[in-house]
Symmetry: C2
Subunit: 238 residues, 2 copies
């Protein structure tokens, strides 16, 4: 039987402060819950309602549709809601690239960037304190299971960069074209905010200002931060 306190906990986890306090987060939908289980993320509890006819979620707790709706962040809950422990940091190679994000605000962009880090084998992602929370439901929707395979740390970026020993690359509209450049085996790639790019106080620590050349006769306004990250990680790995 689900208790009132359990329901209250799940409802509270919609807010970042409770997620941080309990080191728990919520994902919804059979597909995403399965991916996290397969990725080895430990569940506290998986709730399902009577509409769910699937299998392969391990131990589940059946609740009424009304209770699942109360717990859910979705207008139309989809039958499965998992509460998971935040993954513990992975052991990573320090001799690789790190991605650092300066005030990325859009959950879909952060989710896509986490998935890109996973694809390109980047295991360390450092987010400025004002980057959107990676356990925000919309971020999780876009990351898929990748959240379990990338270490995500929130830290003041100028501090982090000040102590870094690797070369620090930053993406700027007016940076040097990245094509034909020798890129080192390790480094930090800084990507900026959707509207304003990299802030001055973070940019001050960038040692190499790079850009993606434009071919449309300089008419296109800019690339979305997630697509620009895709291109630059591809340049680093190719």
């Amino acid at each position: 039987m689900v208790t009132k306190n359990q329901i209250k906990l799940v409802v509270n986890l919609k807010q970042k402060k409770y997620r941080t306090q309990h080191a728990l987060f919520v994902v919804e939908g059979e597909k995403l819950v399965k991916e996290l289980l397969q990725a080895g993320v430990e569940p506290l509890k998986i709730f399902v309602d009577g509409t769910w006819k699937g299998s392969g979620l391990g131990e589940t707790e059946l609740v009424s549709g009304a209770i699942l709706k109360q717990m859910s962040s979705l207008k139309q809950p989809n039958g499965v809601l998992g509460v998971f422990y935040m993954p513990k940091p992975l052991k990573t190679e320090v001799s690789d690239w790190v991605v650092a994000l300066d005030a990325v605000r859009d959950p879909g962009n952060l989710g896509t960037i986490i998935r890109l880090c996973d694809w390109f084998g980047i295991r360390e992602l450092v987010c400025s304190m004002d980057t959107v929370d990676c356990y925000n439901p919309k971020v999780l929707q876009a990351t898929m299971g990748s959240i379990a395979r990338v270490n995500i740390v929130y830290a003041p970026l100028p501090e982090f960069l000040k102590n870094a020993k690797q070369p620090i690359f930053g993406a700027f509209m007016d940076g040097e074209p990245v094509y034909g450049r020798e890129l080192p085996a390790k480094g930090i790639l800084v990507m900026g905010n959707e509207a304003n790019g990299i802030s001055d106080e973070v940019g001050a620590w960038v040692t190499e200002r790079i850009s993606i050349p434009q071919f449309g006769g300089e008419t296109a306004e800019s690339l979305n931060v997630a697509t620009a990250t895709a291109i630059l990680l591809n340049e680093i790995r190719r």
Copy 2:
């Protein structure tokens, strides 16, 4: 004075069949309307309400907040709504790359891909008949002004590919790695549906199956179609 018929026209333009019938579409927000004007797209009418204090939109028609809300697709209309004629096809070089989309359904993905084509100077985008409509408001939100700088055609893809003289590249999870390949000066790049990739009937016309190598130990599920397009267009142009 705005007439009842004008209001009805704008409301109807929320539906694709009326957009096609009238060859008109709607964009909302000062920024996007300005971008289309700057890109040379011809407006039929630009409506504003009393909350708009800006300038630089040329001739505008002031309507009440209630009427703007009726015309708007947004929960919170933002003061400016432009009705534009669909742009006429640009003159393009036939000797360049063409992007073809097979059943891309997510408006954000199509919008991002149009913006990428613009950035990389690709002037021809061919969409399968079941690709999301490029004048859908959510697509326009993601394309920014790029809609005016890329020719977008809806056509049955197998037919289009059958008649093509260029080599046809298609992105497949199990394709040949794209790195280190010589890519020709012209060709067609086919990208598939978000969940199912390229369909069999379209895939049958693909002459070169390519993929983006994965570095995360083969754990990441897949790349989003817009980020994969970003990487492949970068490979074509670099």
